[in-house]
Amino acid sequence: MVREVSPGDSISWEVTPLADVPYLPYGVRSGGVDPIDLANFVSKTEVWDQDRVAALSLMLLVEPPKEPLRLMVYRLRARLTEEDSVAITATPYVLVGTDLEPAIRHLNPALRP
């Protein structure tokens, strides 16, 4: 999942329930991205290096809008609870933007190699 980060927002790397994820909703369809690709890219990447961050940035921003755009990419995990409901949590993974050079420092500190 992706959220749009406004210029004045502080960056949070906290794991939160899906309902409490900060920033603005952002649909990757507007950038021509298949959400299944995004989900696979994020969940199946084992080592987050410079090339991988650059590739994710290319995927999301290959057709950049005129206005500067910053996007926080989240990994979501769902599990069945004992009460037979589904609990979903969101972990921020990486920040990409039209005004940001893709770099390791924009990764969640827990993922940095």
Partner: protein, 305 residues
């Protein structure tokens, strides 16, 4: 006085004849249908080639090698315009084959097979991000059927019949094996409605990612509220797939195809996954279009049955 009773036909009969019917009389309806099906497979393949080609331009790194990419280094297709050139080549080859000018070109009867191999390359280059879909498999196998028909049959009628029978065979086999895979992986508990709850939530997350918001439709909400309903939906899917081999036989083919169609509509409504090209192909193969054409526009000297 004695009455001649026709010999009783076995219910299923000969599989080879059911699939291909090489010895059966030809008709205008069958000829038109074969060309329409070939056109559908051609257009579907060209559409996939361009759709995948344009998307591949945004791929900058390989997350996971899948399919053909497990055997060859597919990275040469990334970071340049090769996917677009490849889509152009696939388009040209399929047009040569469909317009029947292939045998006057250096490619001869290999045009569809060449298009098939290039399409596999396009597929492998596109799906390096962690998952390779099966939504295009029916069209891909359709193209493989026509490619083999071109190479194996000089007679166009026999070739067309082979290509259509080839599609029926792999539709039956593919869905049946999908049921076998589910049973091997989870046994009968695959149909536990709680699994559908997880998948509905996963697809809801995909929808949040795609559009920024999500709202469950009434059927999804009904399945989420009633475990028995969710279990019933999954059980229907599993049974449908397990019986898909009935597509191989004329007597059961159309009903089996329509049940598979219902399965796809169910997947669409409950999980928001639409295999559009597969659904169109099932629509084409699931109705006796040739018989309809023969009835509406009978060929002189032939009686439609």
């Amino acid at each position: 006085m004695t009455t001649l009773v026709p010999p009783k036909q076995p219910f299923f009969g000969n599989l080879w004849d059911n699939l291909f019917g090489f010895d059966r009389p030809d008709s205008r309806g069958q000829r038109i249908f074969r060309r329409v099906f070939e056109a559908f497979i051609g257009v579907g393949s060209i559409w996939l080639a361009w759709y995948w080609g344009e998307y591949t331009l945004r791929i900058g790194d390989i997350v996971l090698e899948l399919g053909l990419a497990r055997y060859i280094d597919i990275s040469f297709m990334h970071g340049n315009m090769l996917p677009i050139w490849n889509a152009s080549a696939i388009t040209a080859l399929i047009l040569l084959g469909f317009l029947r000018i292939d045998r006057w070109t250096p490619f001869g009867r290999w045009v569809y097979m060449a298009a098939m191999l290039l399409l596999m390359l396009q597929y492998a280059a596109r799906f390096v991000l962690g998952e390779i879909p099966h939504s295009s498999n029916l069209v891909g196998m359709g193209l493989m059927g026509f490619a083999l028909a071109e190479l194996l049959f000089k007679d166009r009628t026999a070739g067309g019949r082979f290509a259509i029978g080839f599609s029926y065979f792999f539709i039956g086999l593919g869905y049946t094996l999908a049921a076998v895979s589910k049973l091997v992986a989870r046994g009968l508990t695959w149909a536990d409605g709680r699994h559908l709850w997880m998948w509905i939530n996963e697809k809801a997350v995909d929808e949040v990612a795609r559009s920024g918001a999500v709202e469950l439709n009434w059927l999804q909400q009904f399945a989420m509220d009633h475990w028995w309903a969710a279990t019933l939906f999954l059980a229907f899917g599993l049974i449908t797939e397990a019986l898909a081999w009935l597509v191989w036989f004329r007597r059961t083919r159309h009903i089996a195809m329509w049940v598979v169609m219902a399965l796809h509509i169910g997947i669409w409504v409950t999980m928001d996954i639409l295999f559009a090209l597969s659904v169109y192909e099932i629509l084409l193969l699931g109705l006796p279009w040739a018989v309809f054409i023969d009835r509406l526009w009978p060929e002189r000297g032939l009686v439609a049955k």
